[in-house]
Amino acid sequence: MAPLDKNTDEAPKIVGDPFKIPDMECGAMADTHTFEAAPEHNEPLGFPGELVDNWKEVAIAKMGELAEKNRAFKVYLDTCVKCGACTDKCHYFLGSGDPKNMPVARQDLLRSVYRRYYTFAGRNFPWLVGARDLTKEVLDEWYTYYHQCSQCRRCSVACPYGIDTAEISMAAREILDSVGVGQKYCNEIIAKLKKTGNNLGLNPKALRATLEDLEEDLEDETGIAVKLPLDVKGADILLITPSADFFAEPHIDGLLGYAKVFHAAGVSWTISSYASEAANFGMFIGSYENMREVSWRIRQAAKDLGVKRIIFGECGHAWRVGYSFLNTLAGPFDFLDQNYPIPQHIMEFTSDALDEGILKIDKSRNDEFRMTYHDSCNVARGSAMGRKEGGQFDLPRKVLKAVCNHFYDMEQDTIRENTFCCGGGGGLLTDDLMDLRIKGAKPRMTALQQVSEDHGVTHMAAICAICKTQFSKVMPKYGYEMDSIMSVHQLVANAVILDGQVDDDDEDDD
């Protein structure tokens, strides 16, 4: 296999206008069909191992069941007036030019079948209302194009009716799973989490060894024994963070940042080996049951360890699940300290610590970086943060500005609630979709190039594990080094000075 798969060399290095509507190319992405799951990935999630014989009946019945149970889904299928406001809002359409990646067209893949079986007009005069039969070709098309939606919801902000394509894409994936056609990337990961407590498959022994190794690094760097506690009963705070924070770059640097902040604040905290994952891929596949099971581990860990608070690390969709659904999925959390948000985001904690003057900061330690900030879609459009409206946008920027001297925002229509997806969200962060990921990153990369040109921005920070991995892979295709993407708490870690800290300046001394 080549370093990155086919077509990747075609990605332009200098692009221009982030909103530029591409020339339409029908079927441009029709062959992009992410790997399907094997029975051993599907079955642990409660799905049939492979395509069931009566798939057509099962799929139609499932669609009806979802429309019955989820009123929003039914309203979304019923109300589209084809106004076209969403057509140029999807980064995958802007990057690929395939009209089926226009949100309305993506919705219609499912809507047309729903009409055929669940509306009067579609049952009797399908040709008049664009209704079509469910065939194997349609099922394959669903799989192809509902795995080219990162469920980022940028289009739903533009829709005058608020139709949420993410909700439709989740339902489509749930229907596909119900007939035995799961996606390998998501389902393999959920199955792994059920076995080991995290997406990576990191067992407690390996997690402990990793954390001890990082403690050694922190002590070498600062001269202080900053701890990364694991499974400590009676700690005040349980940190729930994506397992990428134990494995990948620049995620790990963010984890070291949380540890320094907790150390400086003098709080007792712990990571749990049982719930060593913030990510909840149950949401990506639209499976309430799996989402609940993943969330339940957090509740169990909090109870077993007897903590008072739960704090989430930098993970985008985890924060949507945490902020918006955790109480419904795994609550009530009446056993936690009610004086704090349940759960709380690490950004809220750090922001408060800054306000209270607990953190000693030397901003000049980040002077080599000229920063901008990428709003991650699930944080931006699926959650809130802190005590004020818009906190999910303002708190990360506030923290960044508190630890960096050079900060510049990108074009207004590409940030905050209008942010562009990184191109790898919603269960698409898999190598076999690299071509799609590079194309989908184009609007964000273009906006970044603009701010680089205007203000000399060199680096971009984010608070989502998917965004960080995606950018470290695709940025080199757009003229940036792979380490141009940073964790917000990596910059915090650079700037914070702990009491008694002795800097290890001599690089050879290790």
């Binding site: 790997f35 494995f247 991995t469």
Partner: protein, 110 residues
């Protein structure tokens, strides 16, 4: 997908990771490296061997940072740094080196 090593066929998943980890031999490692367009040097083998030792103890690949620290200790900082790791394994020390070392692919948001 599969690899042919000394007349034997070794099965893999869609992405070229071997499915039966016990089938790995240095000869197979060399065959996978060739398929990946990686020219194996002593430095490549040092990484592969470290990954295999770590896996044997922990049943998972090490964090990139842990790998780099270990290589830095054994081969010096000219080799033990992130940039050089990507020169050795252009698709990344975690995924590509794991594939050559016969370990499972790291999954998740990595």
């Amino acid at each position: 997908m599969s690899y042919d090593v000394n007349g034997q066929t070794v099965e893999t998943d869609e992405e070229g990771y071997i499915t039966n980890l016990s089938e790995w031999t240095p000869d197979l490692g060399a065959v996978i490296a060739k398929a990946e367009d990686v020219d194996m040097t002593d430095e490549h083998w040092a990484v592969v061997n470290f990954l295999r030792d770590y896996y044997e103890e922990y049943q998972i690949a090490p964090a990139v940072r842990v790998l780099i620290k270990a290589i830095k200790k054994s081969l010096g900082k000219e080799v033990g740094n992130n940039k050089y790791m990507y020169e050795l394994f252009p698709y990344g020390p975690a995924k590509q080196a794991c594939k050559i070392a016969g370990l499972p692919k790291p999954t998740g948001c990595v």
